[in-house]
């Protein structure tokens, strides 16, 4: 039966809201399929505003993977801003997809991609506006299956009560496998109802309701066990091998509305084994799997031709680590030198080689700013986090940058790292002054700048720091204030150094949502009922609201906000995500945690791409292996270049 568009009801509301174009759809690259031509229908949601969600790679990839299949339909939906939310409630307009403005509740699956935990309240808005019961337990056969994926889903326990299923790891093959299961189940007449479907998914998808969590009197988890037959004790992540066989996105969605990233992005490799101990992405996406230079070249050429974008981003967790990054940069720069297509390498490490790459990619553009992330101010602290950058490395890198015409260098740091002292944070200021001094000398001018940008450290699941105590917000704030004072006090440098930071309170809520268990769902629901929306946006985020909600929702439990955040865990404690397997060996993680805080100084872990395997567990337990070049291939500009600038 065809499903009616809600657009006739939505359109009269649009003149009264901000940026109405974001709700209209019709983008180049979007796909509208006949409803009845598909037997499995997905609504894909990035639970944030359209301007943030549209460029998301995960959604764009899955959208294409699904829509390429016959009999499968995928449409997108994003969180509407509070102005439209209020009007939709007033006029009974349900959550809709952008392609055909179909009501989300009519789909078979509603999939959320969680890049960050602060989107959890937006998920509740989407569910509620869609008319789907917020709790999984209250949904019936007629409601869409509510599935989550993305990095934050590696500990979905705080939202487990709201989700029917959770996919760990890479989604490309998983969404197709889920689609097949749903198709079969529907074809057979939906045997066993909703639970029947979930049981079929349970071997490769985490079904929270099939696991019971019990607690000790002190609030710690006693155990997490399956509550029915045929459900595995632990659920493993999915790892996509051979990225060349999955060259998505091919038909990028090109927005009419303005979004945060206006470019064609190609992931040049997935995974990272640098071993930074704070980095969840680097731990849960192992091993490194490269896309070959030739596939990258073809994707860039096709992506530009299909989209009309004039900027290309070469994405990964540490783009300069690609085994053929130099060839990629030089060849792409050759291909696009005359075509007004800009190339960028968004994620780079502290290394003079990176400046050479950036020089290459910006051949005919302006050299405005370069960004590096030393993360820790002192060498001792950088050893603790296994970010092996010496002060000499950093000075050499920025000297190269300023000398080759870059005027501004941005440096990222974290505050509140394990073992951190006041002096470690003060060291950031000393480093910034040395950077300016070296830069003035290298550039031969005084108008160069350095911006210091600091975020509060939040311990994340599946990392060696998953047991660490999060630093108290008062301590973080005091250290950041002291650093700001020191930067301003030095008149020889104050005007050349910019200073940006996030206060400690924001990080505490992220910490609660990152390492929380199922009891935290009550906090999320309470905060949402109190009006929490768009918590990732500082103008919408309220720490006080979350604090009140935590007090209220956890009143009957022996745990509180501090218990979840600033408390160190020990080896024997059952962590809420211990039954979810990212491939990492728990004992290896514990040893790495112990090495990082060893009194005699932190031990170093090398990158397994260049040194022997140290048995982190990712490859051996998942049956995967490192896939890196070099391939020895080069890009032929005449073959690749889309015809722009004359035909």
């Amino acid at each position: 039966m065809p499903v009616e568009s809600v657009y006739p009801a939505l359109e009269p509301l649009l003149p009264s809201v901000r940026k109405p174009i974001q709700y209209v759809g019709g983008e180049v690259g979007s796909v509208v399929k006949d409803w009845d031509s598909a037997d499995v229908r997905w609504a894909l949601c990035y639970p944030d505003a359209y301007e943030v969600g549209l460029p998301n790679q995960g959604i764009q990839i899955l959208y294409e993977v699904l829509n390429e299949r016959d009999g499968v339909l995928a449409e997108r939906t994003y969180t509407v801003w509070p102005d439209l939310e209020a009007l939709m409630r007033e006029h009974d307009v349900p959550q809709f997809t952008l392609e055909a403005h179909r009501p989300v509740a009519a789909f078979d699956v509603l999939g959320f991609s969680f890049a960050a935990e602060l989107g959890y309240t937006n998920m509740l808005t989407v569910l509620d506006l869609a008319g789907i019961p917020i709790f999984s337990s209250e949904r019936g056969e007629c409601h869409p299956l509510v599935i989550a994926g993305g990095h934050a889903a590696f500990n979905p326990e705080p939202v487990a009560d709201f989700l029917d299923a959770v996919v760990l790891g890479d989604g490309e093959q998983a969404v197709l496998a889920i689609t097949e299961v749903i198709r079969e189940w529907k074809r057979e007449g939906c045997p066993g109802g909703r639970d029947g479907l979930l049981l079929r998914l349970a071997p490769f998808v985490y079904i929270p309701r099939f696991y019971d969590v019990s607690y000790h009197a002190d609030g710690k988890i006693s155990k997490v066990v399956p509550n029915r037959q045929g459900v595995p004790a632990t659920v493993s992540k999915h790892t996509l091998m051979d990225l060349d066989a999955w060259p998505y996105p091919r038909q990028p969605i090109v927005p009419v509305a303005e979004t945060v990233h206006e470019r064609y992005s190609v992931e040049i490799f997935r995974g990272c084994t640098r071993g930074c101990r704070f980095c969840q992405a680097g731990m849960i996406t192992r091993p490194v799997r490269e896309r070959s230079i030739t596939t990258i070249g073809q994707m860039v050429a096709d992506g530009i031709a299909a989209s009309g974008f004039n900027e290309v981003g070469l994405l990964s967790l540490s783009s300069a680590d690609h085994s053929e990054i130099n060839e990629i940069a030089v060849d792409l720069a050759d291909c696009y030198e005359d075509s007004k297509v800009g190339l960028s390498l968004p994620s780079t490490r502290v290394d003079a080689f990176n400046v050479t790459l950036a020089d290459e990619l910006s051949r005919n553009g302006r050299r405005s700013g370069l960004t590096f992330a030393p993360e820790g101010g002192s060498e001792r602290l950088r050893k603790v986090i296994n970010k092996m950058v010496t002060e000499e490395d950093l000075i050499r890198t920025v000297t190269t940058a300023y000398a080759s015409g870059w005027r501004q260098v941005k440096l990222y740091f974290m505050c509140g790292l394990p073992t951190e002292t006041d002096e470690d944070v003060q060291a950031i200021g000393q480093l910034a002054r040395k950077v300016i001094a070296a830069g003035r000398e290298a550039a031969g001018r005084r108008d160069i700048r350095c911006t210091v940008s600091i975020g509060g450290f939040v311990p994340k699941p599946h990392t060696p720091f998953q047991w660490a105590a999060q630093c108290a917000p008062e301590v973080v704030d005091a250290r950041l204030r002291a650093l700001g004072g020191a930067l301003r006090a030095d008149r020889a440098y104050a005007k050349s150094i910019g200073y940006r930071y996030h206060g400690g309170q924001d990080g505490i809520i992220e910490g609660l949502l990152s390492r929380g268990d199922r009891r935290v769902s009550g906090v999320i629901l309470a905060a949402w009922k109190e009006g929490a929306r768009f918590d990732g946006w500082s103008e919408h985020f309220s720490f006080e609201r979350w604090q009140r909600s935590a007090e209220q929702a956890l009143a009957g439990d022996p745990v509180d906000l501090a218990w979840y955040t600033t408390r160190e865990r020990d080896y024997s404690e059952v962590l809420p995500w211990d039954h979810l397997d990212a491939g990492l060996d728990r004992d290896w993680l514990w040893q790495d945690w112990q090495d990082s805080i060893a009194p005699e100084g932190a031990g170093e872990v090398e990158d397994c791409r260049w040194t022997p395997c140290y048995e982190c567990g990712a490859c051996s337990s998942m049956g995967t292996e490192i896939q890196v070049g070099p391939t020895g291939q080069r890009l032929d500009g005449r073959r690749l270049l889309p015809v722009i600038g004359g035909r």
């Binding site: 009269p12 649009l14 003149p15 009264s16 940026k19 109405p20 174009i21 709700y23 209209v24 019709g26 983008e27 180049v28 090109v254 009419v256 509305a257 303005e258 206006e262 530009i304 031709a305 299909a306 989209s307 009309g308 974008f309 004039n310 007004k340 553009g365 302006r366 889309p642 015809v643 722009i644 600038g645 004359g646 035909r647």
Partner: protein, 233 residues
């Protein structure tokens, strides 16, 4: 495209030009921009069937080819109706030109169609008569820079209520047609709605649906010329 801002449309058009593979000319400088200039874009929230722009190419192309390639590449909702080669100074060559088009300098007025939901045609007729009888209709519009005061009456050359109604069977829906001069500061259709609401007693039940039907010289738009125009969606 009714809900797209002028900047949104410009960005979508530039990407369409690149997808079409047209040899677009770029400005000089650190951040080169494609040489495309837009003439008085319709405001956000208003549909349009008559926008004009000029673009500079580095290689001469057949007009029909440019038109075909752009239409193949542009998103739904942006259609190129006609392409005409301009003179070397960007103006139209002498001796050519259809009735509705002109060099940008000649786009002195717009014809608009305005559907007023929930307003009976006879109520609209009384309001229009009242509006036209005025010598001025001062209105205020809230902009990013504060409150702007305008005379909505001064820009209106012609305003009539059509005999047709929007959708048979639905609620009352008066349809207005008007010709409005391009003044500085510009009087937008929404300013005229404000005047009709505040001073002439109409009360639309939801925001009016407004469509720009044509742009050109005042004489080309007034009288019966536009009444024959097709209805807007």
């Amino acid at each position: 495209m009714r809900f797209a801002s002028h900047r949104d449309v410009a960005r979508a058009f530039e990407r369409g030009v690149r997808r079409a593979g047209l040899p677009i000319a770029y400005s000089a400088g650190f951040t080169p921009h494609p040489k495309i200039s837009y003439a008085g874009g319709a405001p956000t929230g208003v549909a349009s069937e008559a926008e004009y722009l000029s673009l500079a190419l580095t290689v001469r192309q057949a007009e029909t080819q440019v038109c075909l390639r752009l239409n193949a590449a542009l998103p739904d909702g942006i259609d190129v109706i006609d392409v005409t080669e301009a003179g070397g100074d960007g103006s139209r060559p002498a001796g050519s030109g259809s009735a509705s088009a002109g060099g940008f300098g000649h786009l002195e007025a717009s014809g608009w169609r305005m559907v007023l939901p929930g307003v009976a045609p006879e109520v609209a007729r009384r309001a229009v008569a009242g509006f036209l009888a005025r010598t001025e209709a001062p209105v205020e519009r809230l902009t990013d820079k504060g409150v702007r005061r305008l005379d909505a009456r001064a820009a209106v050359v012609e305003m009539t209520v059509l005999d047709e109604t929007a959708e048979p069977g639905s609620e009352d829906c008066a349809i207005l047609r008007m010709v409005v001069l391009h003044t500085a500061p510009a009087v937008r259709p929404e300013d005229i709605v404000t005047a009709l609401r505040e001073q002439d007693g109409i009360a639309p039940s939801s925001p009016p649906m407004i469509t720009r039907l044509a742009q050109g010289q005042r004489a080309q738009l007034t009288g019966q010329a536009l009444l024959a125009g097709k209805g807007a969606s």
